[in-house]
């Protein structure tokens, strides 16, 4: 679980990918997303994952990217089992090996989906994500809430650790007893965590008010995003990939092994 969060956090870098315009990067991830959604075939998914691995390698985030993929395995297994079990229960389904194959394909696609956005988050600062969202005409109020959420995640994780340390020092044993009593043992962890979060958000709200947040209707920005030649090349490439995928899927379908 924590591994996935790590894979969605920004890590500074100086690669070609890091320097791309965030909108171009978002389009790369979206393209991968669309292609994986359009095609269910394992071969296509594999190609997408290979392409993502290449991007991860270029951006120098390979290790963290692999961690995200690795951390997503529990979800993948869950999706596979759910698909398989549910379809086994419904009458009138194709033979078992086909269900197995299709359940696998569905779970496998999930890896590609997660992994594509992992590259985006690994190489894009919260600030850049914010700028991208503003460019997409999302009101700054929401953008700010979103980037604050991203920024505070590591702080929250640290605080959770401190709270767990405090309560364990008071004799709280989290992994003792049956699942139900175990759940109740999390109350001493969750209450301080929530109280601290609320307190922090009030403090943040006050600090923002002091700085006149939202005082002027029209906001200007110190840094503006500008598309350069390489960004445009990437955007054109991605749009082309999407068009080609759509073409071969719907207009002139081809058989994929």
């Amino acid at each position: 679980m924590a591994a996935i969060l790590q894979g969605l956090q920004f890590y500074p870098g100086d690669s070609f990918i890091h320097k791309l315009d965030p909108r171009a990067k978002l389009l790369i991830s979206t393209t991968f997303l669309l292609i994986t959604l359009i095609y269910v075939e394992v071969t296509v998914t594999t190609m997408i994952i290979i392409a993502e691995a290449l991007l991860a390698a270029i951006s120098g985030t390979m290790r963290r990217w692999v961690k995200t993929v690795y951390g997503s395995i529990p979800f993948i297994v869950a999706v596979f089992l759910m698909n398989y079990l549910v379809r086994m229960l419904i009458p009138g389904q194709p033979p078992t090996h086909i269900i197995l194959y299709e359940s696998f394909a569905a779970a496998y696609r999930l890896i590609a989906l997660l992994a594509s956005f992992s590259i985006f988050f690994l190489t894009t600062t919260p600030e850049e994500i914010g700028m991208t969202l503003t460019k997409l005409r999302i009101p700054y109020m929401y953008v700010f809430a979103f980037i604050s959420a991203i920024r505070f995640t590591p702080i929250l994780a640290e605080e959770l650790q401190t709270i767990m340390d405090s309560q364990r020092s008071r004799g709280l044993e989290l992994d003792k007893g049956n699942p139900l009593t175990r759940l109740r043992r999390y109350i001493p962890i969750l209450v301080p965590l929530i109280v601290n979060v609320l307190r922090r958000s009030y403090e943040l709200a006050e600090a923002m008010e002091v700085k006149c947040f939202g005082a002027s209707k029209k906001r200007t920005y110190l840094k503006e995003l500008k598309l350069r030649l390489k960004d445009l090349v990437v955007i054109i490439l991605m749009l082309a990939s999407i068009s080609i995928s759509l073409y071969f899927k719907f207009i002139n379908p081809i058989k994929i092994p």
Binding site: E159, D165, S166, S169, R170, G171, L190
Partner: protein
């Protein structure tokens, strides 16, 4: 007795927080761990009850290896009072908050009642037992945090930065409590960079810097070594500085209490 045998600790993110720590703390000692932020004080304290287990080397509490027992069983012996009380409160009222740990440790209700009463009396919180812990003031919260630990009466009490955000009166009260607990035979470990507070306590001082122990000695010895203190971004306590300034009338630089220094000055002046 606490023994650290060449302990090294590396956090999952690769930061080495403790490096070759060899340390022995005897029963009944008062020890202050000093050093700037990030020196490794809190990491060291978290090793006392097994919250953190050494990456290399071992920590022994009364001969028990911390890697081999649970945090809960060690906590009965070593009570840690953490820096920020807000990280522990969750109960409806002060009474329940103090009782929580006692119940975890499996005391029967009669003992829980007696021990909670003792602890709130001792820390002067009797008037607050029905109040929510969240409504207490900063100083009261710190007192409650200490009462919670004192309730199960551990042999070793570790306080992480107990003076942060406390006014002088609270610090004075805390000082009395620490001295009283020590006189009852408790081992006290205080991590702090509050030089004046530690000077009043006159403990054995362990000076840490970047995960290593760079000095270990009695308070006077450490506080007189200004160069050493400055290398840890600490300044000597005012009374040491004053006694150094008074050299010209023949006062010997020492860690005096205010009264001792006053007597010394009078003696030198009358001569």
């Amino acid at each position: 007795m606490i023994r650290f045998e060449s302990v090294e600790y590396i956090y999952p993110n690769g930061i080495k927080a403790l490096d070759k720590i060899d340390l022995e703390i005897n029963d009944g000692e008062i020890v202050a761990i000093m050093g700037e932020n990030g020196a490794g004080k809190t990491t060291l304290i978290k090793h006392l009850n097994g919250l953190l287990k050494p990456t290399k080397g071992k920590v022994l509490i009364d001969g028990i290896d911390t890697r081999k027992v649970t945090v809960a069983s060690l906590s009965k012996k070593v009570g840690i009072v953490f820096q920020n009380p807000d990280d522990m409160f969750f109960s409806e009222n002060v009474w329940e908050e103090v009782a929580f740990a006692l119940r975890n440790f499996g005391y029967d209700e009669a003992t829980v009642k007696r021990r909670v009463e003792n602890a709130v009396n001792f820390m002067d919180l009797v008037n607050y037992i029905n109040k929510s812990p969240f409504t207490l003031s900063g100083g009261e919260k710190k007192r409650l945090a200490l009462a919670i630990v004192l309730a199960w009466s551990p042999d070793i009490i570790a306080l992480d930065e107990p003076t942060i955000g406390q006014d002088l009166l609270q610090k004075e009260k805390l000082l009395q409590v620490i001295k009283l607990l020590n006189s009852q035979g408790k081992t006290i470990i205080v991590s702090s960079h509050d030089v004046e507070f530690i000077a009043d306590l006159k403990p054995r001082i362990i000076l840490m810097k970047r995960g290593r122990i760079i000095a270990d000695g009695d308070a006077e010895e450490i506080f007189l070594n200004e160069e050493l203190l400055r290398s840890c971004n600490l300044l000597p306590p005012q009374l040491i500085t004053l006694s150094k300034e008074l050299k010209f009338i023949g006062v010997k630089p020492k860690l005096y209490s205010p009264r001792e220094l006053a007597t010394e000055i009078m003696a030198k002046l009358q001569r």
